[in-house]
Symmetry: C2
Subunit: 332 residues, 2 copies
């Protein structure tokens, strides 16, 4: 039985959508057990609305909730009894093997790193996102902000962790990995990526540099970069898509042509928005810690929660990704 701890109180639609997504996940995977952590009454009230396998779902009471505006370091020190920190502690105690939260990203990363600790041989953790691509399968992009001021050796470790994730969780047996750079040719970029390039050269699956422009084509399974750059990239993609949809809405409401055209194109535009929404592809795994921490998007609805629990956490644990990373890095 694979046991996942879910912070029921994190995110814009907690606890309703978190509970609903958890129930969906339990129905999808029979070998899954979940502990929902948070305000008992609120969770119980939501559970009333669903039919679910009672023997595989528990509630762990936690009255405190970490807010988005809480400073991560303060949340970590002062909110030990929060739903998020108690959920992480279930993994630390060996009760659960993975934890999921749609709450405060900084607090979750800090909690994941300090409560669970780093995986042996890993110097710095990385937060990975699943970038939607043209070929359907997402590209794993890491780090998008877990570590600031990374060094070349960190990027080399990210590459390996990303490959394990892509292979084991997404099923890309020969997962290729590329370095995000300003140009495709070797020798391009800043000191950091030049160093990382030297270290990655000749490693299994390394295919060279990739430009940000080509990320969404999905030609590469795994793309590594340092956290500041990855964070910018992710937010630029989000921001651009948001602006385009804003303008399309404006055009649609500007004239009768637009209104009619818009209503006809609506199903297609909705499909497109869904396709581009990386939250639909599940959450962002924090890799390089002892266990698995998944950050679900703050706006996650039930489907995204279900994907994070059943498609990501469940498979990650079943395929023993932590074990594979640990044995690889211990040999280094």
């Amino acid at each position: 039985m694979i046991h996942v701890a879910v912070d029921a109180m994190g995110g814009d639609h907690a606890p309703a959508e978190i509970v609903a997504g958890t129930v969906m996940a339990l129905k999808e995977e029979e070998g899954l057990r979940v502990t929902l952590v948070g305000r008992e009454e609120a969770i119980a009230a939501e559970l009333e609305k669903h039919q679910y396998p009672r023997d595989r779902l528990d509630i762990l009471a936690a009255e405190e909730v970490i807010r988005d505006e809480d400073q991560p370091s303060v949340a970590l020190r002062r909110k030990k009894n929060s739903s998020m920190m108690k959920a992480i502690s279930l993994v630390k105690e060996g009760e659960a093997q993975a934890v999921i939260s749609a709450g405060n990203t900084g607090a979750l990363m800090a909690g994941g790193l300090f409560i669970l600790g780093r995986l042996g041989g890993i110097d710095r953790p990385a937060l990975a996102v699943m970038v939607p691509t043209r070929r359907g399968k997402p590209t794993v992009l890491l780090d998008v902000g877990a570590t600031m001021d990374a060094k070349g050796k960190n990027l080399i470790q990210y590459a390996r962790m990303g490959q394990v994730y892509s292979r084991r969780v997404l099923g890309n047996d020969k997962a290729g990995v590329a370095l995000l750079n300003v140009g495709a040719e070797a020798g391009k970029g800043n000191d950091l990526v030049k160093k990382a390039y030297e270290g990655l050269k000749g490693q299994e699956g390394f295919i060279g540099n990739v430009e940000a422009r080509d990320l969404m084509l999905g030609t590469v399974d795994v793309v590594v970069c340092e956290g500041f750059v990855g964070n910018m990239l992710l937010k630029a993609m989000e921001g651009t898509a948001g602006e385009i949809f804003h303008y399309v809405k404006q055009e649609v409401s500007a004239s009768w042509r637009g209104k009619l055209g818009g209503s006809l194109l609506l199903p297609g535009l909705k499909r497109l928005k869904k396709r581009l929404d990386y939250a639909e592809h599940g959450g962002a795994p924090l890799l390089g810690v002892n266990g698995l921490v998944i950050k679900a998007h703050g706006s996650s609805r039930a489907l995204a929660v279900k994907n994070a629990v059943a498609a990501q956490a469940f498979r990650f644990v079943r395929e023993d990704c932590v074990g594979e990373m640990a044995s690889y890095f211990e040999k280094q």
Copy 2:
């Protein structure tokens, strides 16, 4: 009379669109003189197609052309007689005050820096782009790749150069400047932006951090970042917009609903594409050199060339931006 040198041979649509845009610019600004640099016969053949003020347009013959695949350092050393390098040299010799090319970006930056030299008080140059925003006026984003491994003091210089540009060329009298960062709060980010933040704090017009997601809202006139990050950001925006239009096309051709809806929305979608295309807003000025170098997008058509010549280079020189930057930095 303001004299601009134009590389007639750079870009995907050279020389036809370059010549056409130059003619448009000459008609718009009576105080403008242009020297077109490149293959004399090809330029003359294009000029045949237009009516233009002959007393304000010259041709400077240059047989060599720098290709996109040429290494910048090699182009700089071996192609001194190319249209691009000869156009830059016109500024060096004091003949022209600005130079524009839609050719090889790396070669143009290398040529601009090494032929013209740095402006006194400036340690490293920055390439600035005009990001299209919701409010209409573009936001000046710099550096997008002129300098790798920038330091805090470089970012502080970029801020000032960007402000001068925004004020003098775009007419934002009280141009505000922000630092691109992973979060809006002070204290966020990597060592580089923390250092830059300290240096910018208290400076005229500095309004703090801005996230990549908010860049296109246009709430800030000038946004500074280091070149690697800026390059990623720009390409991520380009790539995302390109992907979305690719998917929209797919949806449009997938069904009769899509076809009809698409044909009705077409004018709106075209307007949108134009609005998002930063090439429409003119080229990317290389700031911090002795003179002005403008990189027009490789795909520039006549209108973009006209904007680069008349709206950007002409105003930049008329408003003596180089003089203002020089006097500011000499005092530092």
